[in-house]
C-alpha cells in the first residue's frame, strides 16, 4: 500500500498535475468571465476543440508557436462573438445556442482538418513548446522538476489567472461585468451599455477557452486528434460552480482536480491488473459530479445568469 502514498513524493506527479491543470484553468477562467456577465457558454467544448485544431494547424502550416496561440485566441473570439450576438443581442436560449456552437465549432474544426489533411492515418506532428530552463530554479532538487521545468505556455496560463483576477477585481470593466451578471438594470441606469459589456466578456472568455484547447495541441501533446477535448469543457463548467465564479478559486479547483487525475493515472499503473482502466478514466467525470453536489449548498449563481436583458423593459 505504501507505494500509493509514495506517488505524492515524486516530482513527476506534481509536474503532471500542473500540466493537466493548464487547459482546465484557461477554460474555467473563460467560463467564469462569461457567467459573471450573465451568459452561460455551453459552446466551451466545441470552442476548445476548434481552438486546439486551429492552433495546431497554424503551426503545422509553418507559423511559429506563439502565432498558433494567437490564431486559437482569434477563432475563440469569433465563436464568442457569434454566441454573444445570439444570446446577448437577440436573447436566444443560452442553452441551445451553446449546444449549437459546440456542434458547429467542433464539426467545422474536423471538416477543415480533413480538408487540409485528407488521408492522414497517423496524425502528423509538430514540434510543440519545450520546457524552458530557468537558471538556478530549474536545478533545485524536487521543486526544480515540479515547478520550474515547464513550457512557456504553462507559465502563460498562470499569467492568465493573474490577469483575470486583476480584470475582475481592479478594473472598471470587471466591475461592469459583475454588474451585468447581477443587476443589469442598475448598470444600464449608469449609462453603460449592458449588451456591450456582456459581449466583451463572452468574446474574451471564449478566447480563453480556445487557448485552453490549444494548450493540448501546442504544449501537452504534439498532434490533433478527433475528440481530444474529451469532456474537458464540461468539466470546466462544473469547476466554475465549484470555484464559486472566482478566478483564484478556479486555479485551486483546477489544480485539485488535475492532482486527482494525475494521481489516478499513476495509481492505475500500480493497480491496473486489479481494477479495469475504464474505472480510472471515469474518475474525472464522477469527481466533477461529486464536486457539484458538494458545492450545491453554498452555490450562489450570478442573479442574472440565463436572463436575457432587453432594453427598455422593466422587470
Amino acid at each position: 500500500m505504501i507505494e500509493f502514498f509514495e506517488i505524492f513524493l515524486t516530482a513527476g506527479f506534481w509536474a503532471a498535475t500542473i500540466r493537466i491543470a493548464c487547459p482546465l484553468i484557461l477554460a474555467t477562467l473563460g467560463e467564469v468571465l462569461c457567467e459573471r456577465a450573465g451568459v452561460l457558454n455551453l459552446g466551451i467544448e466545441g470552442i476548445m476543440s476548434i481552438g486546439a485544431m486551429v492552433g495546431w494547424m497554424t503551426v503545422f502550416l509553418g507559423a511559429d508557436l506563439y502565432t498558433g496561440i494567437l490564431a486559437a485566441l482569434i477563432i475563440g473570439g469569433v465563436f464568442g462573438l457569434m454566441h454573444a450576438i445570439f444570446t446577448v443581442y437577440l436573447g436566444a436560449s443560452q442553452h441551445v445556442t451553446g449546444i449549437g456552437i459546440t456542434m458547429l465549432a467542433s464539426s467545422l474544426g474536423f471538416f477543415i482538418f480533413k480538408l487540409i489533411l485528407p488521408a492522414s492515418t497517423t496524425p502528423p506532428k509538430i514540434k510543440p513548446f519545450q520546457p524552458i530552463d530557468i537558471p538556478f530554479l530549474s536545478d533545485l532538487p524536487f521543486f526544480g522538476q515540479a515547478l520550474f521545468q515547464h513550457t512557456p505556455f504553462t507559465y502563460l496560463a498562470i499569467v492568465a489567472v493573474i490577469f483575470a483576477f486583476w480584470l475582475m477585481n481592479s478594473t472598471p470593466l470587471g466591475l461592469s461585468i459583475k454588474m451585468a451578471g447581477e443587476n443589469p438594470m442598475a448598470l444600464e441606469a449608469q449609462g453603460i451599455d449592458v449588451f456591450l459589456v456582456r459581449t466583451i466578456a463572452v468574446v474574451l472568455g471564449s478566447a480563453f477557452m480556445a487557448v485552453g484547447g490549444a494548450y493540448l495541441t501546442l504544449s501537452a501533446f504534439d498532434a490533433f486528434y478527433f475528440g481530444m477535448i474529451n469532456g474537458r469543457g464540461w468539466i470546466a463548467i462544473a469547476l466554475v460552480i465549484f470555484a464559486s465564479w472566482k478566478p483564484e478559486r478556479a486555479l485551486l479547483g483546477a489544480l485539485l482536480f488535475a492532482g486527482l487525475d494525475a494521481y489516478q493515472v499513476r495509481a492505475q499503473q500500480l493497480a491496473g491488473a486489479v481494477i479495469p482502466y475504464q474505472f480510472f478514466l471515469m474518475m474525472p467525470f464522477v469527481l466533477s459530479i461529486i464536486a457539484m453536489i458538494i458545492a450545491a449548498k453554498r452555490t450562489r449563481y450570478p442573479k442574472a445568469l440565463l436572463v436575457p436583458f432587453r432594453r427598455g423593459e422593466r422587470h
Binding site: 449549437g100 458547429l104 459530479i289
Partner: protein, 358 residues
C-alpha cells in the same frame, strides 16, 4: 446612435411558424455550400449526390428511415424535456443504458415469444434510460444541482461503463476479439418491415411513440402541466401546479425515450451491443427537437431530414470528395439558424433612433 430592441409579438403568425424551419434549413445548406466550394466541389451537384444517397433508391430510402429511428426517439426525449425547460443533454448516455438493458435481458436471460419479448425489451430499455436520469433529476429538485452539466458528464461515464462491460464480463466469446455483446435472441430481434433492407419495426415504434407523446402533450392534464412548468415555472407554482412531480415525470419520459433508442439500435439494426452503437444520436436529438420547434409530430419529419443528411453525406463524400464531417456542420448550423428564425417569429425588431430619447 441607432440601436434596436426586440418586442414580443402579440400573436405568432402560424404560416410564419410553419415555414421557419424551412428557412433555417435553407440558410444552413447555403452556408454549408460555401464549405463545399472551399473543398473544391460544386455545391449543387454535391447536394444532388447527397439527396440521391439518402432517397435515390429503395435501399437508400430504407437506410434513411432506419437511421431516423433512434434520432426520432432521442428527438422526442429532448423535445419533451426542453418543453418543461428541463435540460436533459444526456440522451447519449440514456441510449446506451437502454442498449445495456437490452443486452442484459434480451440475450438469453429471459426468452418469451416475440409478441411479448419485443414490448418487454422496450419497457426494460425505457426503464433503464429513465433510471439513469432519476438520480440527476432528484439532485436538481432537492439540491438545485444543475442538470445540464450532470447529464453531459454522465454520458462519458456510461460510455466507459459500456466499454468495460464489452471488453470484460459481457464480451461475446464468439466475437473473435471484437468488443461486442452477445446477440439478442431471435424472438427479441425487431423484424424487417421492408424486404432486403435494414429497415425494421423500430421505425414504426418510433413514429407511434411520437404520436403518443403528441396526444399526451396536447390532450391530457399532465401535458398541460408540462407546458405550464416550461413557460413560467413560478406562475405554475403559485397556481398550485405540482412542479416536483411534473419535472420527475418529464425526466422519466425523456430518459425513457432515449433508452428506447438504445433498444432499436441493439435489437433492431445490429442485433448486438457495440461500442460504436451511437455516433452521437443523443446529441442529434437536440437538433431534431429544435428543428421541430419541440413539436412531437414535427420530430418525425425533422428526424427523417437529419437522417437523410447523415446517410446522404457518405454517398456525397465518395462522389465529390467532400469530408463527411459536412453532415455534422449542417446539423450544427441548423440548430443556430432555427434559433434565429424563432426569434423573428416571436419578436418584432424595432429600431430606435436615439437611445437617450427612449
Amino acid at each position: 446612435m441607432v440601436t434596436f430592441r426586440l418586442e414580443e409579438r402579440e400573436r405568432t403568425s402560424y404560416p410564419l411558424a410553419l415555414i421557419s424551419p424551412l428557412i433555417a434549413v435553407f440558410i444552413s445548406l447555403v452556408l454549408a455550400g460555401l464549405l463545399i466550394i472551399l473543398a473544391g466541389a460544386n455545391p449543387v451537384q454535391s447536394y444532388y449526390e447527397l439527396m440521391k444517397g439518402a432517397f435515390g433508391s429503395k435501399n437508400a430510402f430504407a437506410e434513411t428511415l432506419a437511421r431516423a429511428t433512434p434520432i426520432i426517439l432521442t428527438g422526442l426525449a429532448a423535445s419533451i424535456a426542453f418543453r418543461a425547460k428541463f435540460w436533459n443533454i444526456g440522451a447519449e448516455g440514456q441510449l446506451y443504458f437502454g442498449a445495456l438493458a437490452t443486452t442484459m435481458f434480451g440475450t438469453g436471460l429471459i426468452v418469451l415469444p416475440s409478441i411479448l419479448m419485443i414490448p418487454f425489451l422496450f419497457i426494460m430499455g425505457a426503464l433503464a434510460g429513465g433510471l439513469l436520469l432519476l438520480p440527476l433529476v432528484l439532485l436538481k429538485l432537492y439540491y438545485k444541482v444543475d442538470e445540464v452539466v450532470t447529464t453531459l458528464l454522465l454520458n462519458f461515464v456510461v460510455v466507459l461503463l459500456v466499454s468495460y462491460l464489452l471488453e470484460g464480463p459481457w464480451k461475446d466469446p464468439m466475437s473473435l476479439g471484437w468488443p461486442q455483446g452477445k446477440s439478442v435472441v431471435d424472438s427479441g430481434i425487431l423484424p424487417q418491415i421492408l424486404a432486403k433492407t435494414r429497415l425494421h419495426l423500430g421505425f414504426v415504434i418510433a413514429v407511434f411513440t411520437a404520436l403518443s407523446i403528441w396526444l399526451i402533450m396536447n390532450k391530457t392534464i399532465i401535458g398541460y402541466q408540462i407546458k405550464s412548468v416550461g413557460s413560467n415555472a413560478s406562475a405554475a407554482s403559485h397556481s398550485g401546479l405540482p412542479i416536483f412531480k411534473t419535472t420527475l415525470i418529464v425526466a422519466l419520459f425523456s430518459g425513457g425515450m432515449a433508452g428506447m433508442a438504445g433498444v432499436t439500435e441493439t435489437a433492431g439494426l445490429k442485433g448486438y451491443l457495440t461500442l460504436d452503437l451511437s455516433p452521437g444520436f443523443g446529441y442529434a436529438g437536440i437538433a431534431v427537437a429544435m428543428l421541430a420547434n419541440l413539436n412531437p409530430l414535427g420530430v418525425i419529419f425533422s428526424g427523417i431530414f437529419l437522417a437523410s443528411i447523415y446517410v446522404g453525406a457518405d454517398a456525397m463524400s465518395r462522389a465529390m470528395n467532400v469530408p463527411t464531417y459536412l453532415a455534422d456542420v449542417i446539423v450544427g448550423l441548423t440548430v443556430l439558424s432555427i434559433l434565429l428564425s424563432l426569434i423573428f417569429i416571436n419578436f418584432k425588431i424595432k429600431f430606435i433612433g436615439n437611445r437617450d430619447n427612449d
